[in-house]
Amino acid sequence: MRIAIAEDSVLLREGLTRLLVEAGHEVIAAEADAERFLRAVAGSVPDAAVIDVRMPPTFTDEGLRAALVVRDRWPDVGVLVLSQWVEERYATELIAGRPRGVGYLLKDRVADVTEFLDALTRVAEGGSAFDPEVVAQLLARSRHPLGDLTPREREVLALMAEGRSNGAIADALVVGGGAVEKHINNIFTKLGLAPGERDHRRVLAVLRYLNGVNP
């Protein structure tokens, strides 16, 4: 995959570049601020972009705004936003327009290299990857009651919202694939969502539901 990086910390920028190169990807740009990063992306459109939220000059949400620009201007580029802390509100903004091929993870997750690369691949292929912490916030602030769900169904819902596949959910909960299918169908029925959605479209449905946007 061809990847562009926006990260102002030299240590992390170099570390990410090395990690991605070692995994067999091509890093086409590694920039320290949003403006230069956007210019690099415009010059040579990558398959995916990894963007830090806080960057110069104001160190607030430059990265997030750059991510929204990429998302709107180059819909085929997967956008993975990294941050020292995750906030439900930023996730909401990311999935608002075109919630296809977006991800939002804590920077810590980079430490689990395999999982991080997996998430990046998912995002580049149009799927999604949301941090468990973000999902926990979304569930806590859900605009709809989730009281009808059993604890197990809540767990499945959280994993779905993170963007995981049925197989990954089954592995995480140590149950069979059939059981996961059944839970998912129950969840969709109880929440009144169209059943049988697959992969990223179903993540979308779940996230929008939690945000109070009607599916």
């Binding site: 607030t60 020292q84 802390w85 906030e87 439900e88 509100r89 930023y90 430490a111 602030r141």
Partner: protein, 416 residues
């Protein structure tokens, strides 16, 4: 007895000196102030030529006010608080008064004092000195009565003479002399009361200053305690983890050639340690100031708190206009502390958090209620620290927590 003692006591004499000094000062000041203000204001239309003169006069009244406050303190032992100092200088190029200076109540009160000094002192001196002098004259009348030109004092055309009259005069003189001491002191106090109104801020302002001084002290203490807590958390948490991490990596390095399997285990442990350190640091930063609060406001920041709380939180946030950052931060920490308490002590099954903004300028109301066992101690470290933080923005915190519950914590924070 004390009447006689008062006659010779230092306080009486100081009061008399005060009146006489006031007369001299008033005499000098009234010319300077009427001339300075009169010509200064009069010359204003001439391309503001009067401004430097006005500035000079106001500098003089500033100095006079300071001098007079000191005089009241030294001679009468009356402390007059100074007007609160303006943070910005009152003059440009040394002599040009700023508009703030010209429109401030303190400035004109002090000018007014300069004008009033003379008439007030004339009255006090006239009464106190003439009472003392007349008393002394009457008391000693028997000694010199015979030596007077008409061989006796003449009152209403009759010549006062003879033993009983002399005794009466002496008694009247004594009474007047004793009364004059009280009179001088009483007038000094009255003078101080009048001057206090002009030389110092109104009493409600003075009370407010005291209150602010106290609350500032508490806020500074709270900040200091907070810094110590952060230092401790960093030292006990992340720092120790990083030490352990470096140690494990060092051991792994030593084992790599001889025992690669053990080295791999150590690297695994180090990896876990590093991730723990990251989590601790993140929580610490969130506790100091959550970045999303600055970026997106209260509603967004409170989401994170709700997700971290093990007790289900029903959160309603309605803040149409963002209050200033200090108020937002205090509101955030009220909710954070309350939810921490709910999680630790309340055994509640449900928490409600309501945050409502009532216009701007207006107030921000924060209310946290749970269905737990109650018994929260408003004097405890957490809640009293919170009360200090709330008072730092002029807000009010109330804690209702009867034993048996429920607990209701509310804060009203003024905005604007």
């Amino acid at each position: 007895m004390h009447l006689i003692r008062d006659l010779v006591s230092a306080r009486t004499w100081l009061a008399l000196i005060h009146h006489l000094a006031g007369l001299l000062i008033g005499l000098a000041v009234i010319f300077i102030v009427t001339f300075g203000i009169g010509f200064g204001v009069g010359a204003l239309p001439l391309a503001l030529a009067g401004l430097p003169l006005l500035g000079l006069t106001l500098r003089f009244t500033d100095w006079l006010a300071r001098f007079e406050r000191a005089r009241f303190a030294v001679l009468l032992d009356v402390a007059i608080p100074a007007w609160p100092q303006d943070a910005r200088p009152g003059y440009r190029w040394l002599l040009i008064p700023s508009w703030r200076k010209l429109s401030s109540r303190a400035t004109w009160s002090e000018v007014g004092y300069g004008l009033l000094r003379l008439p007030v002192s004339v009255v006090t001196v006239a009464i106190s000195v003439s009472a003392a002098a007349f008393g002394l004259l009457l008391l000693t009348l028997p000694l010199y009565n015979g030596a007077l030109p008409s061989r006796g004092a003449v009152i209403d055309g009759t010549v006062v003479r003879g033993g009983p009259a002399m005794a009466g005069a002496a008694v009247a003189g004594l009474v007047l002399l004793l009364a004059s001491a009280q009179l001088a002191r009483g007038l000094a106090l009255a003078d101080a009361a009048v001057s206090r109104r002009l030389l110092g801020p109104p009493s409600h302002l003075a009370a407010r200053v005291t209150e602010l001084e106290r609350s500032r002290e508490r806020v500074v203490d709270a900040a200091e305690a907070e810094r110590r807590r952060i230092e401790r958390d960093l030292h006990d948490g992340a720092q120790q983890r990083l030490v352990a991490l470096a140690m494990e990596l060092g051991r792994a390095q030593a084992k790599f050639t001889d025992d690669p399997e053990a080295a791999r285990d150590l690297v695994d442990q180090a990896h876990a340690q590093a991730k723990e350190a990251l989590i601790e640091l993140r929580n610490l930063v969130r506790g100091v100031h959550p970045p999303v609060l600055t970026d997106r406001g209260l509603d967004a920041a409170l989401s994170g708190l709700a997700a971290l709380c093990p007790v289900p939180v029903d959160m309603q946030v309605d803040v149409p206009v963002r209050p200033k950052p200090a108020v937002e931060a205090v509101a955030y920490f009220v909710v954070a502390e309350a939810l921490t308490n709910v999680a630790k002590h309340s055994r509640a099954s449900q928490v409600r958090v309501m945050v409502e903004g009532h216009g701007f300028p207006g107030s921000l109301t924060v209310l946290i209620s749970d269905d737990g066992i109650g018994g929260a101690d408003p004097g405890g470290a957490g809640l009293s620290g919170l009360a200090d933080r709330v008072s730092g923005v002029d807000g009010e915190l109330s804690v209702e927590s009867p034993s048996g519950g429920p607990t209701i914590i509310s804060a009203v924070l003024p905005c604007g």
